[in-house]
């Protein structure tokens, strides 16, 4: 399906790309003059079908970049003759009349009632000719993209009449990727013709060597009509493609699993700080993520007002803004509520749940309950292919971002004096305090850091999820699962937990469906906690008992 959509998109842009090609394709540049071409176009409207065919051939021979759209229009039946002066024009029905445009330069030529113009008729024979003509130009184009899309469109249509042309193009082709597509197209066409059995055998082998889903579909489709002695070969081809596809499925699950893992990691890593390091069950963590997403929205809108030129990079500004904003909110929450509740984790849970309700309703009151649109920048939209898998850029960027955040956090905890103090307070609060560490300050900073990271996660999640007041609710349980599974107080545990749960989820999904996979993961975590009540990487020592 992905492949089809891409094909269609490429079909659509095909004729625009032709234009570039035709500049260089000017075999007979003498013809490529304004007057001549216009006269030739007008010739399309004269005489019968044979005359029209000649006119098309002449037009193709010019190699003029404006010809293919005209031919396409002819094939589509939007090319008309103006009765008054026999000029050929493009006409589109608008209201009662037809709006006219010049086929060559696209300028408007007013409008006329339908009685004043006459459609140029084409028959099926002519349509085939037109298609071949366009194919000829495109398959031999010096522009790589045009050739690629032409080859793909021929593969899709598999028109036996194109075989000769395709052979010619194959002989001239140098780009390996296009060549393989052309070979595949040729093989598909050969299977449709009544070529000798050996040629068909070779064709099947060619298709099998491609090994993607399209190739498998082609084989499955040709199987019923194939000659008897070819069937075993096709059958084994289908199954061998199936095997390689299964391998690709594993790779795809792994990749998608990593993508999910990165989202889980981002959502959970802030919690790993507040819950894991401080022992505070922050039920408002999801709302910190949500605030980060709304910060992204606000930053985007502000930049639209102040610096529209930098809109592309608003995310770059949103990341620190979200970190600072949610970090400050976090410090505020810690100073006002949580500091009174240390050592009473269950009460912290209730209080922070209350805070989460307040934050949700506050955002709902300020921004309204509807989803806010965060426009993804161009460098984050679209897809790219890895082998048979298509992957979106924003997912890749989120993976990169998650790794960067994780690394930055490790550096803060392991290489800065604040990190050292945080770890000291985690290990033994009283001892740390005796050594002169201001534990309240460290607490506030730690909570602010955890909240700020949640805000940064919100920036990333705004790209893949709806920015709504409920955004955080969807992640809070998953985040807790990751932290609990990985083991409290250990960032590596969080990383391993996120990757394990993300990948496991994606591997279960094909068998059980998304919801059942999630249920299965939850049940597995519940059972896992029985075996290791402190998670995968438990902190050892006396500190955690206090």
């Amino acid at each position: 399906m992905q492949c089809d959509r891409r094909l269609n998109e490429q079909m659509a842009s095909r004729f625009f790309r032709l234009i570039a090609f035709l500049i260089a394709f000017a075999v007979q540049p003498a013809y490529a003059q304004m007057g001549d071409v216009a006269a030739m176009v007008d010739a399309l409207g004269q005489g019968g079908f044979p005359d029209r065919e000649k006119a098309i051939a002449a037009l193709v021979a010019t190699g003029d970049l404006r010809v293919p759209p005209i031919l396409e229009a002819l094939s589509d039946g939007t090319l008309y003759v103006r009765k008054s002066d026999s000029k050929v024009i493009l006409s589109v029905k608008s209201g009662g009349d037809f709006a006219l445009t010049d086929p060559l330069d696209g300028s408007s030529m007013g409008s006329l009632p339908s009685a004043e113009i006459e459609k140029i008729k084409v028959n099926n024979g002519l349509r085939t000719k037109i298609r071949t003509a366009i194919g000829t130009m495109t398959l031999l184009s010096p522009d790589r993209d045009i050739r690629m899309s032409a080859a793909e469109s021929i593969l899709k249509n598999a028109d036996p009449s194109m075989l000769e042309l395709l052979d010619k193009a194959l002989a001239a082709e140098t780009d390996p990727q296009i060549k393989t597509t052309m070979e595949l197209a040729r093989a598909v066409i050969v299977l449709k013709t009544d070529a000798p059995i050996d040629a068909k055998r070779a064709a099947v082998d060619t298709i099998v060597s491609h090994g993607n889903r399209a190739a498998q579909t082609v084989l499955v489709n040709t199987l019923p009509s194939a000659p008897e002695d070819l069937k075993p070969l096709i059958q084994s081809g289908i199954s061998s493609i199936g095997n390689s596809l299964a391998l690709w499925d594993v790779v795809q699950n792994l990749l998608y699993g990593l993508s999910l893992s990165s989202v889980l990691l981002l959502a959970a890593i802030g919690l790993a700080i507040t819950f894991g390091v401080m022992g505070v069950i922050n039920m408002a963590h999801g709302e910190m993520v949500m605030l980060g997403a709304y910060t992204t929205y606000v930053v985007q809108n502000v930049m639209q007002q102040l610096a529209p030129g930098l809109m592309e990079y608003s995310l770059v500004f949103a990341v620190p803004a979200a970190f600072l904003f949610t970090g400050l909110v976090g410090v505020g929450i810690e100073r006002s509520v949580i500091r009174w509740l240390y050592g009473r984790p269950l009460e912290t849970l209730l209080a922070t749940w209350g805070i989460s309700l307040i934050l949700q309703q506050a955002v709902r009151s300020v921004f309204g309950p509807t989803n806010k649109l965060v426009t993804p920048p161009a460098w984050m939209s679209g897809t790219f292919d890895v082998g048979n898998i298509s992957f979106t850029w924003n997912r890749l960027w989120i993976i990169v971002f998650a790794i960067a955040v994780f690394a930055a956090l490790q550096i803060i905890l392991k290489r800065t004096s604040l990190g050292l103090q945080m770890r000291a307070v985690t290990a033994n609060r009283r001892m740390a305090s005796s050594m002169g560490i201001r534990t309240p300050f460290v607490d506030a900073m730690t909570f602010g850091l955890g909240s700020g990271i949640a805000g940064m996660a919100g920036v990333a999640l705004s790209q893949i999820d709806n920015v709504s007041p409920n955004l955080g609710q969807g992640y809070i349980i998953d985040s807790f699962m990751v932290v609990v599974f990985g083991g409290v107080g250990n960032l590596w545990g969080t990383l391993v937990g996120a990757v394990t749960l993300g990948v496991a989820n994606k591997f279960l999904e094909p068998y059980a469906g998304a919801v059942l996979a999630k249920i299965a993961i939850l049940v597995l975590i519940i059972l896992f906690i029985q075996r290791r009540p402190r998670g995968l990487f438990a902190l050892k020592g006396r500190a955690i008992e206090a």
Partner: protein, 408 residues
């Protein structure tokens, strides 16, 4: 003999509470059915199921208090037991519709016809009979609590971890019940009920009877909970809450105590859910929402955990407030609820009942620092060594039942 036991089990407050419940169980139906409209004592029809709903919530809160207030198990999944009981009741009510559904299918409920079920799933068998359904109302939540508890408590999953996995449990059930192919009506749940025990569920008299049943069930729950917490077992429960390790070292088996309390609590929650369904007329997967369970926790916290009266007062007050706010100032309800969570944890750790005790000056001894101690108690946990999780098997087996064996 029984009276004697009851009198020993119930303290003064519990007796007053039971009497008050008995009074409303009579007064509300009378005010609704007997006293004519226009009289200021008359209760309009819509109010009866509303009040009944509050009592069901109060029962859920009481059930939660039994495990949280007395055993130190903060369950964030108690709404799951409530909803399971409710579903069991809903299934019975669905079977009572018979051929009167929209599709008039004599065998299959409407949603099954709609979802192209060929025959009744096996787990719907038996729900035609009220006794079976009523049994399931208690058995299903109890069984889930037993399986969950035996796993969790034997492995000594405590404190926060237990809270989070109970939340995971209700979340998993939420996702499961949203699925159409589970056979419980999916997203829409079970609704459009007609009869209960042969009476029309919509009728005012049935509603009044259901209210009376809710009040009596709550009274019974109060008696049961009082009996438990005032017994020797109740003392071990509190001991487990305050110092689980110490209790274990003395020779008790805290996991069995907790399991017992958890199962009783789940059964009570299930009964509350079963009474809730015919009064509100619908049960859907939304009841499994983790948010509901947490809201139930705040009822207990507001009223005062570790008391019998507290959760009932808390549940009724918060829900009356909710009814008022969501009607009058819907924007403010979440602010109010959120602020309530924060304020109660910060300023009212012992809840309203605790405040009352303090004001009366009687709370000094019996309720001394209950909540703070409770939290500290849950914090004192076993070392995180992996051996600890398997340690429980090494204890000498003193009894097989969930109930601890008091040394006689």
């Amino acid at each position: 003999m029984i009276t004697h036991m009851l009198l020993r089990a119930l303290d003064k407050r519990a007796i007053w509470l039971v009497l008050a419940l008995a009074f409303v169980a009579i007064a509300v139906p009378v005010c609704n059915l007997v006293i004519p409209e226009g009289n200021f004592l008359h209760l309009p029809n819509y109010a009866v199921p509303l009040l009944g709903k509050y009592l069901n919530y109060a029962m859920l809160a009481l059930a939660l208090d039994l495990v949280w207030g007395y055993c130190g198990i903060l369950s964030l999944g108690h709404a799951a037991f409530f909803a399971l009981g409710a579903y069991a009741m809903g299934m019975y009510l669905m079977r009572q519709i018979g051929a009167r559904g929209v599709y008039a299918n004599p065998v299959l409920p409407d949603f099954m016809v709609f979802l192209n079920y060929k025959e009744l799933p096996w787990f719907w068998y038996g729900f035609d009979h009220w006794w079976f359904a009523f049994l399931m109302v208690m058995v299903v939540p109890g069984l889930l609590a037993f399986c969950f508890g035996i796993l969790a408590f034997r492995s000594r999953v405590t404190g926060v971890y237990l809270s989070i996995i109970t939340q995971a449990m209700t979340y998993a059930l939420l996702l499961a019940f949203f699925r159409n192919d589970l056979g419980f009506g999916g997203n829409n749940g079970l609704t459009d009920f007609k009869d209960i025990l042969g009476f029309n569920v919509q009728a005012a008299s049935t509603r009044a009877a259901l209210f009376a049943a809710s009040a009596m069930a709550l009274a019974l729950a109060v008696i049961i909970c009082s009996a438990i917490v005032n017994s020797k077992l109740g003392k071990i429960m509190v001991a487990t809450r305050d110092a689980e390790s110490r209790t274990r070292f003395i020779g008790w088996r805290p996991e069995n105590v907790k399991l017992f309390a958890f199962v009783v609590s789940a059964v009570l929650a299930g009964i509350a859910g079963a009474l809730y369904v015919p009064q509100v007329g619908i049960i859907n997967p939304g009841e499994f929402d983790p948010g509901n369970s947490i809201e139930a926790v705040i009822w207990v916290a507001v009223g005062g955990r570790g008391t019998i009266v507290g959760p009932i007062i808390g549940a009724i007050l918060v829900n009356v407030g909710k009814s008022y706010f969501t009607g009058a100032l819907p924007e403010l309800w979440l602010f109010a609820l959120g602020a309530l969570f924060v304020a109660v944890t910060l300023f009212l750790p012992k809840g309203i009942v605790g405040l009352w005790n303090q004001w009366r000056g009687s709370g000094g001894k019996s309720e001394r620092e209950v909540s703070a101690e409770a939290e500290k108690g849950t914090e004192v946990e076993e070392p995180a060594l992996p051996a600890a999780s398997t340690g429980s098997t090494e204890w000498p087996k003193t009894g097989s039942g969930p109930e601890p064996q008091p040394a006689q």
